[in-house]
């Protein structure tokens, strides 16, 4: 027996060994390895995002432009789905049985225990019908979320739209999670951070069946959602709507700005679309349609289309000439139905000659401004050669906010184009060009590319006699109702204030008795300038820029009607109507209004403009 009692050590040894192994294993998984804690949290914690209400957008008079409408997403937790009357269910939410089976499969593939969207954005009617029966459909519930609505159905390009974030955005910005919405264009994009507010987080504990079991640690880690800030847009809904009506059946753009502060009153790009098309269930379908539309309704011409400014550019050349002390109010140049220096080219229309500076502006004399341009660039007392002269001229031009982005608060803005010396060097060869080579710049043709927004900004600078505020679309953010600080800064042109008088005189003359009489208003002094932007692809574009009243200007407007021919045909009357509408809120020329509203300008240009995105 004694030999056998030694075996107690073997047996005891086994006991000790197994317990030691277990203790080691426990020490490892409990103390050394943290991954199980994470798994336990993943099991039990559900991070519920509380979505803040996106900020609303009002126009300058308090008209609601953008608000949120409740939408209903039908959610499903596949595991909890009990046998239901599938037919009734499908009928209620308006889907087919095959779709039901497919959607259930998708939901199960995602997770049997976690909820996922079964059908997004049910209509109010569907929701109402479904709600009464929901008790019969175990495992389904309705989650509310908000959709953007645009009650005025205007300013689609300016207001923009929101859409679900994609992987790229999620990767770039940790704020966004799958399924979140983000502004994709317009104000929705540029004021995304102000509008979106702050998401809240509710941490809930759930059991194995995903049933809520209360707040995690009594909610000490929970955060409340903070609503987005409301915005006051500088737009006038009335003016915007009116402008859109005027531009219907036409292609082009209208931009109206309050010169005294840079607030954009209207920004119209035609053709446009109803912003509500890009909301909700039909969004993708509608977007596809708009995207493929040959008239490019998604393309925001006001900010993105380059047009040669045409004769409106003569204003700038005149101003530069004065500042350079080569042109004065009384300076007269001959016109022989064209520029005599170059054998009558560019051509001009019949008018008395020679004229002084205001007269040349009023009659839009081509020859006059060719002389002015030449005397600026070929001023050999000041500039050693044409290159120096050209660069000096170009710097003046750039100071009007052309040829570079002016950094408005809308996305998609493009810089426009004022050719550089390097461009001409390349094109004509070094020393291969002189003022006469590029003389078309004097009358706003050639390689110049200016967006309608920039045209409107030029006219603001003239109205203000030498400075502009960066045009912006939001004049009030949140409760303070202040715009972004950069929009309260004056940007000065390189032209001294005193040189504006002759030009403005000329503009007034143009409206009173010159090329722009269609914009004349009783008791309000309107100053304007027509333009005809040469279009190598088809009929010329009709351009008009104007401001009013002459003292304390309240509105500056740039109108561009593609293929509209002479400025006076379409652009001037539309500009005049816009000014009157804004200043008086009534129209004194109903006949003209009718003609403009009903007018159809067929686009003859082959569309080759860039797409929005």
């Amino acid at each position: 027996m004694n030999t056998l009692s030694g075996r107690k050590l073997v047996i005891g040894g086994i006991f000790v060994a197994v317990c030691a192994i277990y203790l080691l294993r426990l020490f490892f998984i409990q103390v050394m390895d943290d991954s199980y804690k994470l798994s336990a949290n993943n099991n039990v914690l559900r991070y519920m995002t509380e979505y803040p209400a996106r900020g609303l957008v009002y126009d300058r008079y308090g008209t609601l432009l953008v608000y949120n409408e409740v939408a209903y997403d039908l959610m499903v937790t596949p595991r909890q789905v009990k046998v239901i009357d599938t037919l009734d269910f499908c009928k209620t939410i308006g889907i087919k049985k095959e779709q039901f089976i497919k959607k259930m499969k998708q939901a199960k593939a995602y997770s049997s225990y976690k909820e996922s969207a079964f059908e997004k954005q049910l209509s109010k009617e569907t929701y109402a019908a479904l709600q009464e029966k929901l008790y019969k459909f175990k495992g389904f519930f309705v989650q509310t979320r908000t959709l953007r609505k645009y009650p005025q159905e205007i300013a689609a390009h300016t207001l923009g739209y929101v859409g679900e974030v994609n992987d790229k955005i999620i990767a770039a910005n940790s704020y966004y999670k799958l399924g979140d919405y983000i502004g994709i264009s317009g104000i929705e994009k540029s004021y995304e951070e102000e509008l979106r507010g702050k998401k809240g987080l509710k941490i809930q504990m759930v059991d194995v069946f995903n049933r809520p079991k209360g707040r995690f640690k009594d909610g000490i880690y929970d955060t409340l959602a903070v609503s987005g800030q409301n915005l006051v847009s500088s737009l006038s809904a009335k003016l915007q709507k009116y402008g859109e009506q005027l531009l219907q059946n036409k292609t082009g753009a209208i931009v109206a700005i309050d010169p005294s502060n840079g607030e954009i009153l209207a920004s119209i790009s035609g053709p446009s679309y109803n912003p509500n098309l890009l909301v909700g269930r039909e969004r993708t379908k509608n977007y596809g349609k708009l995207f493929l539309d040959k008239s490019l309704p998604l393309f925001n011409r006001a900010l993105m289309a380059y047009y040669p400014p045409g004769s409106t550019f003569k204003l700038i050349n005149g101003l530069i000439g004065e500042q350079e002390q080569v042109t004065f109010r009384e300076t007269r140049y001959p016109c022989a139905r064209g520029y005599p220096v170059m054998g009558g080219k560019p051509k001009c229309h019949p008018h008395p000659s020679p004229m002084d500076l205001p007269g040349a502006v009023s009659t839009s004399c081509n020859s006059y401004f060719c002389y002015v341009f030449r005397s600026i660039i070929d001023n050999r007392k000041k500039y050693a050669n044409v290159v120096e002269g050209y660069n000096a001229w170009r710097n003046y031009v750039l100071s009007f906010g052309i040829g570079k982005k002016i950094h408005t608060d809308l996305p998609q803005e493009l810089p426009g184009n004022v050719p550089t010396q390097a461009y001409y060097d390349k094109y004509f060869g070094k020393n291969g060009w002189k003022s006469s080579t590029i003389v078309s710049l004097s009358i706003g043709q050639g390689e110049l590319g200016v967006t309608p927004l920039q045209m409107a900004n030029i006219i603001c600078s003239i109205a203000n006699k030498g400075f502009y505020y960066t045009p912006h679309i939001v004049k009030g953010i949140g409760p303070k109702k202040e715009p972004r600080p950069e929009y309260k800064i004056r940007h000065y042109t390189k032209i001294a204030p005193e040189y504006f008088e002759p030009i403005i005189d000329g503009m007034q003359g143009a409206v009173d008795h010159g090329t722009s009489t269609a914009a004349r208003l009783k008791d309000i002094v309107v100053c304007g300038k027509t333009g005809t932007a040469q279009n190598p692809h088809g009929k010329d574009h009709s351009v008009f820029i104007a401001f009013a009243p002459r003292e304390n200007p309240k509105i500056a407007v740039a109108v561009l009607v593609e293929n509209g021919g002479w400025g006076a045909t379409w652009a001037v009357p539309i500009g005049g109507l816009m000014i009157e509408k804004y200043l008086r809120d009534s129209i004194s020329k109903p006949d003209m209004e009718k003609r403009m509203l009903e007018g159809i300008v067929l686009s003859t240009e082959k569309k080759k403009a860039k797409e929005t995105e």
Binding site: K8, I11, F15, V16, L23, L26, F27, Y36, N43
Partner: protein
Amino acid sequence: MRKSQQGIFKNIDWLMVIIYLLLVTMGWINIYASVFNEDHYLITDLTQKYGKQMIWIGTSLLLALIILVIDGNFYAAVSWPLWILVLLSLIAVLFFGTEVSGSKSWFRFGEFGIQPAEFAKFATAMVLAKYLSQLNIKMTEVKTKIISSIIIALPIGLILLENETGVALVFFAFILVLYREGLSGNFLLLGVVAIVLFILALLINKTILIIALAIISAILFLFMRKTSQNFILLFSLFVLSSAIIYSVDYAYNHLQSHQKKRIDVFLGKESDIKKAGYNVNQSLIAIGSGGLTGKGFLNGTQTKYDFVPEQSTDFIFCTVGEEWGFAGTAVVIILFLILLLRILFIAERQRSSFSRIYAYGVASILFFHLSVNVGMTIGLAPVIGIPLPFFSYGGSSLWSFTILLFILIKLDAYRLEILR
């Protein structure tokens, strides 16, 4: 009266009693935490498992007292009748029992149930002790081995018929008893080899495995003295191994699908944590997330919110791990280890062979339960549904473990009165 009271507790091993009380109390508290119901927050609420467990604890203590009161000679004397009675009840339950999830092992009396298989453990331990303690019995004799095997195999067979595989496996623990009483250590080794073969048979194609074994046998023979005796030994070992492999393969293919799954998951052949591996995975998460000191009493989310299955019975150790951390699990394991070693110590101080052998039986059963139950919760053993002694919820198991242990305590207290 006073004298008899003194008599009951005379020479009692208080260390075992204290560990028993500690484990039972800790078990009760953890059952409370694992199925805590805020509407019934009293631990004594009889509508809840923890309230019921209180009743089981109370009746167990009563049983313990009764066992201590009864004369020490009684147990050896009733071993056979008791064992036969338990066997009969194991047969009866096959006919009159209630089927619970595929197993027919319960007699139901209203809300409460009795599981005879639980009581077969201590009855078999007693009979084995009774048989082996006879004077003329030697473990080395073939007859002894056969009779011992029958004593162990009979309840196994009946319990397998009830479809309680887990409980049946417990009886294999008695090999430790036989070893202590003289069974060759080779059998222990053989057991280990059999387990290894068992696992290999499931993992590797059986033909390849047998060819490999044949090669190993041949190589071994080359290095051994080339006697016919060695040849026969190696050859029979080879045949035996092959037989094990084939029977394992056969048995595996005839297992029920859920049992197959469990085995597959344990062997790592299948790792679908959503299905068969779910239990072990969630149990690991529960214990692993406890950290050093645990999440605190009633703060275990894994167990309270039902991520861990059977959290009051087979997986009660998860609650300990989650709410009390490594501190808690270490205390439980060390308490069990102290108890096991104490039982070995007590076994060796017995004058009566019956008491000694019985003590080894107790240790073997407790050890098997501990190692398999804790092992499965930490992924070191396959999922076999057997309770953690004294801890898990359930009347039958608590009663049977109490009886098992307190008979030993009584026998030990009585040891000095036995004449050599």
